[in-house]
Symmetry: C2
Amino acid sequence: MPQGQPSTVPDDGLTTRERRNRALVVVHTGQMKGKSTAAFGLALRAWNQGWPIGVFQFVKSAKWKVGEEHALRVLGSSGEGGTVAWHKMGEGWSWTRKAGSDEDHAANALEGWEQVKRDLAAETYRFYVLDEFTYPMTWGWVDVDDVVRTLRDRPGSQHVVITGRDADPRLIEVADLVLETTKVKHPMDAGQKGQRGIEW
Amino acid sequence: MPQGQPSTVPDDGLTTRERRNRALVVVHTGQMKGKSTAAFGLALRAWNQGWPIGVFQFVKSAKWKVGEEHALRVLGSSGEGGTVAWHKMGEGWSWTRKAGSDEDHAANALEGWEQVKRDLAAETYRFYVLDEFTYPMTWGWVDVDDVVRTLRDRPGSQHVVITGRDADPRLIEVADLVLETTKVKHPMDAGQKGQRGIEW
């Protein structure tokens, strides 16, 4: 964990405290696992601060995050820490009535993003996880320039964590913190498949 | 998330199911943040499986993981999922009476490792987080060959996740999964210091 002095002090007119508390856009990218797990690990800190947390899963399969979802839901309703709202594209977004009707993935992804925009404008949450959100951008379902503009101009103090492979350079540009997880060694190389408690 | 067929099938006499459920040694290393957050994110999946979780923090400062500790403690006592036992070197290990007496860091680190060995032998937990455990190995406080031998010969199905920079090559060798998180871009580069909810 890096400590001490930042390498440069920008001439941005902010005090150290203002700069310290500026909300972040965090991107967890790279080819390997660990992107979402790190994002949800970060959500534990946000929860501990008592911040309202909004999770938006931009994937069809809900299988892979069941552990995180269960844990965050239990935490969110524990009476301690922050609240947790968990929205899944794969089973129909929770603010719509048509659960399971995700036949048009592009329209569904865009619907999710439009809700994120509304929530950012209303400052509904203080910590957002947009899980696997790079994919709808890559596939052209969500306009990257709209994402960049929305993130850059968002009001208040709202942290946004985005995960997924192949983050667009424009997203990297607007992000404050970009982390990439790489594999040094993986059990699949030794013929081992995924297993419960580890992969999901 | 990698899916599908493993790249090789080893001649180890195990069935696919046996190989799939072989417990893992996971090392999260690298120079950047995200190592511990990913490890605690993984712990959410273990918790969801109902597995007993043992966390051993091999650091003096308890400041940095307060969010994760609070969240895991609430989860562990929620009546759902697995139990959580959280042990800290920095405030005196929980199985000793001398809280705060961590003047001899080397002896304290070794004491923590000896307890991990006893727990592995007794199969006390099914999922272990040895947080920042690479450091006492690097500093010679804990014998790397002893760690490697203990991990390799541990009984039953016990997953062990180790975090910290500069993982010893012998630890990499015995590990099944090694992940490294690298910085693409960091707010400290733009003169921003750490902040609550993000760094701790």
